[in-house]
């Protein structure tokens, strides 16, 4: 986990936000059922006034996360079904040792494609267009890259990161962390491929893919964009992962502000609980 600190940070922040959800639920229950609580509400106690805000933020977080997670699971399931129903035989690849493609699903499509799909037992899918275009060594490099994703269960990590970032919608830095996690996975997979097959093969594969006829704009939208590729090329050149760009000041400031507001609202709700909740009051007396 030490190498995957962005995901670890996301998990920690998401877990830390859960007590707030419970707390806001408690406050709302008290407000609806206890006269003393309603009096404080009328007096304008900040805990009472802010609890609905906290409940709203938490509810949006949970709904966001559930939606992203459900979508990811559903699409993975649909993709498995589609692959299982695909009865086209793997095209002959002309490899000297076709064993390279063992366990790899080849789909008949001209678009260059090499992906790892599946959460618990991921597998590699490549397109016949990609296989036809690459030399054997380059294909091995691509497959080594994808094998690294398989071994680390990167699709699962990606879905987890996406879900947690959706949960932490009130912290702008969550999206940055998700991007960093993804960047880390791709760079680690490239390092693995370069170690196994040589950096020339990885560079050659990237270059050949780039030389293929441009995919449609809709297709291009799914790739991470020039920054990640630039980082991948730099890593191939120097042999070590380049530093990621610093998080912008505005984002960092917004995140600190978001975190502070969140903590203040939690504190206000907690003091409200101390004043009104029968189960917490003994603590205060002691």
């Amino acid at each position: 986990m030490s190498r995957d600190w962005p995901l670890f940070a996301l998990v920690t922040a998401a877990v830390a936000s859960y007590p707030a959800l419970v707390l806001s639920g408690c406050v709302l229950t008290l407000l609806s059922g206890k006269a003393a609580a309603r009096e404080l509400w009328l007096d304008g106690h900040p805990g009472a006034l802010l609890a609905p805000v906290l409940a709203g933020v938490s509810a949006i977080a949970v709904v966001n996360a559930a939606r992203v997670l459900a979508r990811g699971l559903w699409h993975t399931h649909r993709f498995h079904r589609w692959i299982a129903g695909l009865r086209t035989p793997a095209p002959s690849t002309g490899l000297a040792r076709p064993g390279a493609l063992e366990g790899v699903q080849v789909i008949p499509a001209r678009e260059p494609l090499a992906v790892t799909v599946g959460l618990w037992r991921p597998y590699v899918v490549v397109s016949s267009g990609l296989v036809a275009e690459l030399s054997e060594q380059e294909l091995r490099a691509v497959l080594a890259h994808e094998q690294a994703h398989v071994r680390r269960r990167d699709p699962l990590r990606l879905l987890l990161g996406r879900t947690l970032a959706a949960h932490l919608w009130f912290l702008p830095v969550a999206a940055d962390l998700r991007g960093r996690a993804r960047r880390g996975y791709e760079l680690a997979a490239d390092r693995h491929a370069a170690k196994r097959c040589g950096r020339a093969a990885v560079a050659g594969a990237l270059l050949r893919v780039a030389a293929l006829p441009p995919a449609s704009p809709a297709f291009a939208a799914h790739f991470a964009g020039p920054e990640l590729l630039d980082a991948r090329v730099s890593q191939l050149e120097s042999g070590r992962p380049p530093r990621p760009a610093a998080i912008s000041r505005r984002r960092a400031a917004l995140t600190v502000a978001g975190g502070l507001v969140f903590a203040l609202v939690v504190a206000a709700a907690w003091t409200f609980m101390l004043l009104t909740c029968p189960c917490v009051m003994p603590l205060q007396v002691a």
């Binding site: 699409h75 589609w82 789909i107 494609l113 599946g118 780039a210 995919a215 020039p226 590729l229 090329v233």
Partner: protein
């Protein structure tokens, strides 16, 4: 990932040498059907396919003609897969190098000088 009628329409577009107007697609569809389809049904199917980016629509004179964007059902499926997944649960090797000549020349140097 394509419905039955959508598949039939795509088959016709794939067989055609040129972009077809709705009328031509309708005529070919109805050639082998007991109950003929309405013009509006086929037009709806074609506009839905256009919205999904599977079919391209071009203006000619007074009307529109349609042609397939992708060469096979598998390519459409791949495209939809990426549309659906975004970067949620797939890790992809392929990146878009596109027109960045500087990145290309850096890659070329790496290939030539391992």
């Amino acid at each position: 990932m394509l419905g039955p009628l959508e598949s039939d329409v795509m088959e016709i577009l794939w067989r055609a040498e040129e972009a077809l107007p709705v009328r031509a697609v309708l005529a070919q569809l109805n050639a082998k059907r007991a109950a003929p389809l309405a013009y509006t049904t086929v037009m709806t199917v074609l506009s839905r396919l256009t919205e999904r980016g599977v079919v391209r629509r071009q203006r000619t004179g007074r009307g529109y003609v349609y042609c397939a964007v992708y060469g096979s059902a598998a390519e459409i499926a791949v495209r939809q897969l990426l549309d659906d997944y975004g970067d949620a649960a797939v890790a992809s090797f392929v990146e878009q190098v596109g027109g960045d000549e500087q990145l290309r020349s850096r890659l070329r140097r790496l290939v030539d000088d391992p």
